[in-house]
Each structure stands twice: as structure tokens, then as C-alpha cells.
Symmetry: C2
Subunit: 153 residues, 2 copies
């Protein structure tokens, strides 16, 4: 089986946290930068969130982003509705949840990851409708969730 | 408090695993590369490992490294003797343990991290004696362990 992702440069590391405002302060202090804005994951009409194969209109999260070098660090605080964010946070606690790679052609990359042995956990469109993400379960093999990111040109 | 580390570009992501040979195979399959060599952490006479402030001559691990882009991915399988590797693996299970930064001046950077609010968990010299590492506890603040790496010129 060929590698499922073309560009293996790491695009993002994503953390799940219980209190994004508190942890955001600590990251800003660590990096020596201003606190970035916290945004929410957006409206279902745009995001079309699917959690374990089913529409999840109530699944939401708060997100904030730090940049250093070529790498993005994302903090995610889920809401109380079922989502892969909430599920993972409850099962494993706070900490690094995923590593992300930029892809071209989301559906074919999801299929390649499934052929490789990963399961699709959740997918959706960006809150501004300018791209999409998919979380693939690689916990057994790579000990981490792999996120695919596709930004529309 | 100023940021404790000068160069905030991520140098390494480190995983703790139970079976390095098995997980190494999966990483090589994912990245589409040959399996790298597994090495051990070296002899205490060189490494001078200190675990929570005490000499830990029996603390050892197996390590292997993957490179993609500017980033190193490290897999670590600890031996059965007490170490921060074994402690963390038992407490949190397999997965990402640390993110690493290159520093210049290990002792002053450890002190800066301590002033920032991190606790020194373990430190030692590289197995070839050409550098040193320190694991700083940032689990409360940043939800991850921060590793300092200093390679001698």
C-alpha cells in the first residue's frame, strides 16, 4: 500500500482542551504573542458536520490558532453535544488530539486513508465555506488522529 | 514573564509507544519510507540521566526517528526501570508525549522554563555525548511536555 497522503509536511497540531480561554492565555504567554481571537466552528448549514457517518447539526466547538514557523497550533474546546472532539476529550483527557496534513482532493484522500486502514471519524466544511477537514482514526497504528485539511483555491 | 525559549520553531514531536518495532513499521508504511534503525538511549556513564532530580542509571529506552520537512518524529519505548518515559506511558498510555525545541544554553533555558512555571522532569546527555535534553512539565499550562534539545556544535 502506497502512502495515503502526498504532502507529508506537518500543517497543524491540534489540542483538545477543557477551557480554551485559560489555555489560550498560557500559549500566548509561552510563545510571547498576543492572544488570538477565539472563533466558533460555524453553522451547520455551512459546515455540514458529519460525526461517525451521521449529520451532527449540534456538534460545535470553539477554536483558536497560533502560528510558529510553518506550523499551526490549534486549540479546540468542544460543546456538550456529541462530536469526535467531545468523545476524544472524555476518553483521553486534555492534550494533543491530532496532527494535520494539507491534501488536494478530499474524497479520494479519505478513500486512500481508509484503504490504508484508517476509519473516518468526522468531517465537515470550514465555517467560512472555503475548505474542509476530515478526522481519520490512526490511533491503533500511529497512536494519533490524522486530520486531512483542504483549502479551496 | 518573557517567553522562555528563543527559537519557537518545532524541532520534534515525540511519541511514547509500547512496541517500537510494531509502531515503527506503521510509521514507515504511512510515510512511504524505509524503516529507520532503532537505537538505545545509551550508557549512563555518557548520558548521566537524571529522573526527578536523582541519578537514574537503569532508566533506558529504545528510540527511532522519522524526518519529514523540517520536523523530526521520535518514537520511544521505555525499559522497565523508573523514568519519565515509563511514568508517563503508564499514566497516559501511548501517544504524543512531547514537543521539542532547539535551545542554546541548556541550564539557563531550564531556569527560564522553571521561572515560567514548568518543572524539570528528566534530563540527560545524548547517547553519543554530543548534546543534551531536558523534559519540562507543561501539562497544566500547555497540556503537553516540552523538551529542550541542545546539540553541541
Amino acid at each position: 500500500m502506497d502512502k495515503p497522503i502526498e504532502d507529508m509536511r506537518l500543517a497543524q497540531i491540534g489540542f483538545l482542551v477543557n477551557d480554551i480561554e485559560k489555555t489560550k492565555k498560557e500559549f500566548a504567554r509561552f510563545f510571547g504573542v498576543e492572544e488570538p481571537e477565539t472563533v466558533n466552528s460555524g453553522e451547520f448549514e455551512i459546515t455540514k458536520t458529519q460525526y461517525r457517518g451521521e449529520p451532527a447539526p449540534k456538534a460545535k466547538c470553539y477554536m483558536t490558532f497560533f502560528y510558529f514557523g510553518d506550523l499551526q497550533m490549534e486549540l479546540i474546546q468542544p460543546n456538550e453535544e456529541p462530536s469526535i472532539w467531545k468523545e476524544h476529550l472524555e476518553q483521553f483527557g486534555e492534550g494533543i488530539h491530532h496532527i494535520s496534513f494539507n491534501v488536494k482532493g478530499m474524497q479520494k484522500t479519505i478513500s486512500a486513508c481508509e484503504d490504508w486502514g484508517m476509519e473516518l471519524l468526522q468531517k465537515g466544511e470550514y465555517r467560512r465555506g472555503n475548505g474542509r477537514y476530515a478526522f481519520m482514526d490512526a490511533l491503533d497504528s500511529l497512536k494519533v488522529v490524522v486530520e486531512l485539511l483542504e483549502r479551496d483555491e
